[in-house]
Symmetry: C2
Subunit: 143 residues, 2 copies
DNA sequence: TCTTAAATATGATTTTTATCATATTACTTC
DNA sequence: GAAGTAATATGATAAAAATCATATTTAAGA
């Protein structure tokens, strides 16, 4: 359902939400290890996320990545969307182009309700919210 | 969530369920077009499905593919399982090795309920059932 | 303003997935 | 039992996703 890249992106954004502020920027090399993603790979992803305004960055010494208020208010779905793109998210489970609510494909009824629920949950969950839950211990770390 | 191959596999099994019997076998070339999957590709998939006893086949003239009673009683999940393998199905949405019900990852609560429901539905749905629904018109064809 | 530290841009490599091609084997029919 | 037909086994190629590498640009601080 989600690509590896999306998963990595969520992990890194969440990590930044918890550990960074504008006054405490974090460098790629300090993200890579704790979230357990290869450095060069996450570097590229972070660049893409920054370009799409999902995270903030400044370069040069004392530079790094962090989340500003706008970034914190993005939803988890936003993150997935900028990485995987719209089509993948809404693709029919049998990859039938013509499948939709009126003309559902054979698996549509079995899957669509749950799938829509997942998307709705991801859309309702801001990065800020997720980070808050994690710090409360509702979910464990080691990403 | 599911690979292309799994989707193709479901389509072809469903097509066979609806259109074939032991006395009316169907050849690859007559499956490929209606389900809209490249011939050489579906051929290979059908071979794999046959080897795993998800579908039946006989070769030579008058040969082809069909579903026997055992095949018809397989579930949709079985089909996905033989193609994609167990790991992919149960993988955590953030790909965290240690994520489980007791120690859930940050997205676990958002996703696991819906995901489990999908898996349950796929497990409860026999090929036979799905074919029946389709012929009733509860779901449309052109696969 | 020079040096250094960091992200950025760009693209090469590797791995995985999807797709294609063909020689071999088994079954029918004559 | 020979000829033809269809699946099977095997592997080659192509495309996409994941991973790695590096030269360039920007900002900070001396």
């Amino acid at each position: 359902m989600f690509s590896n890249s999306s998963k990595y992106a969520i992990k890194s954004v969440l990590f930044l939400a918890i550990n960074s502020t504008e006054n405490k920027k974090i460098m790629v090399k300090d993200i890579s290890i704790p979230i357990n993603v290869p450095k060069a790979y996450i570097a590229k992803l972070l660049q893409e996320l920054a370009k799409k305004n999902m995270i903030s960055s400044v370069r040069g010494p004392k530079g790094g990545f962090y989340l500003n208020e706008e970034n914190l208010n993005r939803t988890v779905l936003d993150v997935v969307r900028v990485i995987d793109g719209e089509k993948k998210l809404n693709a029919c489970m049998l990859s039938l182009k013509k499948c939709n609510e009126e003309k559902p494909c054979p698996l549509h009824n079995i899957l669509s309700e749950s799938r829509n629920k997942i998307l709705k949950n991801l859309k309702n969950k801001r990065i800020k919210d997720l980070a808050y839950e994690v710090t409360l211990g509702n979910s464990f770390l080691p990403l």
